[in-house]
Amino acid sequence: MSNQRSTSRDEDLLLQDFSRNVTTKSRALFSGNAAVVSAIPLWLFWRIHQMDFSSYFIHFILGTIVSTYFLNLAYQNMKFILKHKIAQKREEAVNREISKIFASDKSANKKDKDDRVLTRKNEVADFEATTFSIFYNNAFYLVCLLVLSFFVLKNFSPTVNYLFSVALSTAMVFLFSTGQK
């Protein structure tokens, strides 16, 4: 019975480790960041391209929603790709940390230690992958948006400029988030 429980627990950990599903906390973090980063360019288009909010609010709402959705997906994709690699790189450091904790505890067995290492490794990798994914995708998105809006599409009308620069930069971020290299 206890073996079955520990096996199911191991399976849960493995599933969690290799699953693309994100926790509620990560989901909230991703959505919030995606919304903020999608809303930042609105200020640029309002003040520099002279797009009045009252006249272009439909474009702005549509662009922000689409951008938020695809940025969210890009965050999740990149997090999944990075998590395993980060877990491999941080394994040694996590082992050292857990060994120090368990060094004083004689009653703990190897199984508990391994479970603890796996859990801790998962936490560290999850957090680091989440934050790095947000950081990288935001930087890439803003660079693409600035280049498209102020250099490539600068001679087009403000509507075309906004829609195409947001759409193309969002598409590029989403596309490159699925890459393994």
């Binding site: 790709i81 990075l82 790095f132 950081f135 990288y136 660079v143 600035l146 393994q180 290299k181």
Partner: protein, 222 residues
Amino acid sequence: MLKKIKISHLKQVISPSIVHIHVDQSLNAKLLSIYIYTSAVVSLIGGSDRHLYKMFRVVLAALTIIALVNGETCESPEFKVVSHSTRDARLTAESAAQLEITVKCKNGKQPGTLYADINGQVIPCAQTPTAPGKYFIGVAANTHKELASGRTKIKLYDDDSYSALRKARTEDATKAVKPFGQVELNHPGVSYGPWLPSEFFAVCTFGLVWWAAYRERSKILG
């Protein structure tokens, strides 16, 4: 009761200096009316009496001097200048400048018309009835380089000094004419904008940040 005054009688007694007196000042108007009627009375009643006639010519000359002394000459003028000029050269092809000169005279009088000498050309200054004591000069140049940057001295002439300037025939005589005053046009120059636009610096900054993130990602995935 005075009889109808003949123009010829008036011309005999009114001295030429009175002709230049402006009659819009109330004091001068009163003085002029006093000696016109006085001279008319003298010509009609005492015209045959040469001594009386000579005496009144002296009186008239004295009144003329009084009228001139109480005339419209501005004394010890003080100038306050506000200048505006073209600053942006990217969106404009020509330069223009405008000066607003406020003249304050010690005796409270204002010069009738002011003339400004700008680069050898003497032009009248504009005035507005809503702002007495303020004179406006506009300068336009076909290119930005024609309007010299820095401080340019502008001589001002009132009616008397402008008349003297017009009468001067030689360059020495022109230079000898004392101007009413002198002001300066301060033109800071035009700007063609920064060499590199601000979006270039924004892209470079974000590009560097992205480049650092890309390198880190490559290390992780490699």
